[in-house]
C-alpha cells in the first residue's frame, strides 16, 4: 500500500524533517534540532504538531443520535453542553478498548477525533452500531494541527481572534481567512494548547503563519516524550483490545451517572471490575538510576516473580531522567512500591510513582 502524506508533507520536508512511517502515513519523527530541543521548546514556548493523520469523524443527527451514542460510549452525553469535549473509549462487550478518542458536541451532532491506526476500523464499527439515518463523515479533506505550550494562546489568538476565551476541553467554530475552523482547547503534552481542524488547502499557509509568529514544528518523537511526562496513554502501548479503562486507571473518564445503570457496550465488565478491582493496573514507574526501561521490559518483585510489563519508557527531558508506564499486579500498584526492571539481563530498581511525571499547566477556565 502506498504511504499516505498529510497536507503539510512539503512543509515538513523544507524544515528538514526526518520521516518515519506511522499508521500508514509518512510523518516527521523530528526536525533538525532534535527531540530534546523540540520537547523543551514546547514546554517553554510553543510547538506545532501535524496530527492530520488522526481521524476527524463528523456524525450528524438530532436527539436520537445522542441516545444511540450513549449505548456505545460511557458518557453522559445528554448533559454534555454544545462545544464541550470528553475523553472516552470505543469498547467491545468485554470492555476491551478498540480506540481512545475525544468526542465534542457540535451544533449539528458530534465530532470525534480518532487515532490514525484505528480510524478506519472505528468507522466500520460505528457504522454498524448506528442507525443509517445518521450521516457519518470521516473527513479526509481536513487537516488537524495542534499547537501546545505556554505561548500558544497568544500566538494563535493573534491569528484567530477569540480562541483565548475557550475553556479547557471546549471548542468552537471560528472564521479565519474566509473559512470555518474548528478549534478546541486541548492537547496531548501536559501544556495549555489547542487543536485546529482546517481544510487541507489552507493548512500549510496557516502553519507557516504560526511559525512566523514564533511557534516551531515539533515531531512525533517529542510528542511521545511530552505525553509520557504528562502521564497520558498512547493507543497500541498503554491501551489495546486486551485492556479495559479500569485496568488502564482511566475510570475518571467514565461518567458517574452511567456507572449505576450501565447500558453502554462493555458496561457489565466495567461495573464488575470497579466492584472487584482489576487484577492488573496501569501505573507510573520511575527507575532509580539512569537506565531506560522500554516497552516490553519485564517487571519483577524482590522474589523474582514477574509482576508486570512496561508499556512505554523513555528519557523525560523536563523530568531529566528515565520515566515509564506499565501494568503491574494490583498488589504492587501502590505509590512508592519498590519494583525491579529487567533491562539487558540485569535487574534495575525502580518505584511505582504518581502520574503525571510533569505537572500540568492547563488553563482550566478563563470565563
Amino acid at each position: 500500500m502506498e504511504i499516505k502524506k498529510t497536507s503539510l508533507n512539503k512543509l515538513h520536508q523544507s524544515n528538514n524533517a526526518k520521516f518515519v512511517e506511522f499508521a500508514g502515513y509518512e510523518m516527521p519523527i523530528q526536525y533538525s534540532k532534535g527531540i530534546i530541543e523540540e520537547h523543551k521548546f514546547t514546554r517553554s514556548h510553543s510547538g506545532i504538531f501535524d496530527v492530520s493523520h488522526m481521524g476527524q469523524l463528523f456524525i450528524y443527527g438530532d436527539e436520537s443520535l445522542t441516545e444511540e451514542l450513549e449505548k456505545i460510549f460511557p458518557l453522559d452525553l445528554k448533559n454534555l453542553k454544545q462545544n464541550c469535549s470528553k475523553y472516552s473509549f470505543l469498547m467491545n462487550e468485554d470492555a476491551g478498548i478498540y480506540d481512545d478518542l475525544i468526542i465534542t458536541k457540535i451544533e449539528e451532532g458530534y465530532l470525534i477525533i480518532l487515532n490514525a491506526a484505528c480510524k478506519d476500523k472505528d468507522f466500520e464499527i460505528l457504522s454498524n452500531l448506528l442507525s443509517s439515518k445518521f450521516k457519518m463523515n470521516l473527513d479526509n479533506n481536513r487537516s488537524l494541527i495542534a499547537i501546545q505550550g505556554p505561548k500558544s494562546v497568544e500566538i494563535l489568538n493573534s491569528i484567530i481572534n477569540g480562541v483565548d476565551q475557550l475553556n479547557f476541553m471546549t471548542g468552537n467554530w471560528f472564521d479565519s481567512d474566509n473559512q470555518k475552523l474548528f478549534v478546541t482547547r486541548s492537547g496531548y503534552t501536559g501544556e495549555d494548547g489547542f487543536e485546529i481542524s482546517i481544510s487541507n488547502d489552507k493548512a500549510e499557509k496557516f502553519v507557516e503563519n504560526l511559525i512566523e509568529k514564533g511557534a516551531q514544528l515539533i515531531g512525533l518523537g517529542a510528542r511521545d516524550t511530552l505525553r509520557l511526562e504528562a502521564g497520558l496513554c498512547l493507543y497500541g502501548h498503554e491501551l489495546d483490545i486486551n485492556k479495559t479503562p479500569v485496568e488502564a486507571n482511566l475510570r475518571w473518564a467514565i461518567s458517574k451517572s452511567r456507572l449505576s445503570n450501565g447500558g453502554f457496550i462493555g458496561s457489565k465488565k466495567i461495573m464488575n471490575q470497579i466492584q472487584d478491582g482489576a487484577s492488573q493496573i496501569r501505573v507510573g514507574i520511575k527507575p532509580e538510576g539512569r537506565v531506560i526501561a522500554r516497552e516490553k521490559t519485564k517487571i519483577f518483585n524482590d522474589t523474582d516473580k514477574q509482576i508486570g510489563e512496561i508499556t512505554s519508557g523513555t528519557f523525560g527531558p523536563s523530568v531529566k531522567g528515565p520515566i515509564a508506564m506499565g501494568y503491574v499486579d494490583k498488589e504492587f500498584s501502590k505509590i512508592d512500591t519498590k519494583i525491579l526492571l529487567e533491562v539487558r539481563g540485569k535487574k534495575h530498581p525502580a518505584n511505582v510513582c504518581e502520574l503525571p511525571f510533569y505537572k500540568k499547566n492547563y488553563v482550566i477556565g478563563v470565563n
Binding site: 518523537g221 539512569r290 523513555t314 527531558p317 528515565p322
Partner: protein, 126 residues
C-alpha cells in the same frame, strides 16, 4: 598517536603505543539523535573484536556499541556516563568511550581510514 581508523559499526579508534582509544563517530550520533544514556564495559574486563562493549540510548531507541579490536579495558570515560549529552557535543574528541590494551595490533589493518569511512557512511545513510 596513530591515524584515526573507523569501523563499519561506526566506531573510531586511535592507537597510542599499545593502548587504543575508542568512541562512536559523529555520523553515528547524527543517526542516533539525542543520546540520553551510556553504558560502558567494566574496567579490567576483556572485550573481543566485533563484540558488544556498551550501549547508547537515544530518546528513540537503544543501540549496542561494538569494539573494533580485542583487548583489556584499561580506562572508561565516566564523564559520558554522568552526562550522555556530551557524546552528541564532541563524539570524536572528549567523548571517547573506553581505552583498551591491545593484544594484536594487526586487528587495526582492516579498518577504514577517514576518506573510506566518510564514503561508507554516506552510502549507508542513503
Amino acid at each position: 598517536m596513530s591515524e584515526v581508523k573507523f569501523s563499519k559499526e561506526h566506531e573510531w579508534i586511535t592507537l597510542d603505543g599499545d593502548v587504543a582509544t575508542i568512541g562512536i563517530t559523529k555520523h553515528a550520533t547524527e543517526m542516533l539523535g539525542d543520546i540520553v544514556f551510556a553504558e560502558l564495559p567494566e574496567k579490567g574486563s576483556n572485550v573481543e573484536k566485533d563484540g558488544t562493549a556498551g550501549v547508547v540510548e537515544s530518546t528513540k531507541a537503544a543501540s549496542d556499541v561494538y569494539t573494533p579490536v580485542s583487548g583489556e579495558v584499561v580506562d572508561i570515560n565516566q564523564a559520558i556516563v554522568d552526562d550522555p549529552s556530551k557524546i552528541n557535543d564532541d563524539p570524536e574528541g572528549s567523548a571517547w568511550f573506553f581505552k583498551l590494551k591491545m593484544k594484536d595490533q594487526s586487528e587495526m589493518d582492516n579498518l577504514m581510514n577517514k576518506e573510506e569511512y566518510d564514503k561508507f557512511a554516506k552510502e549507508s545513510a542513503s
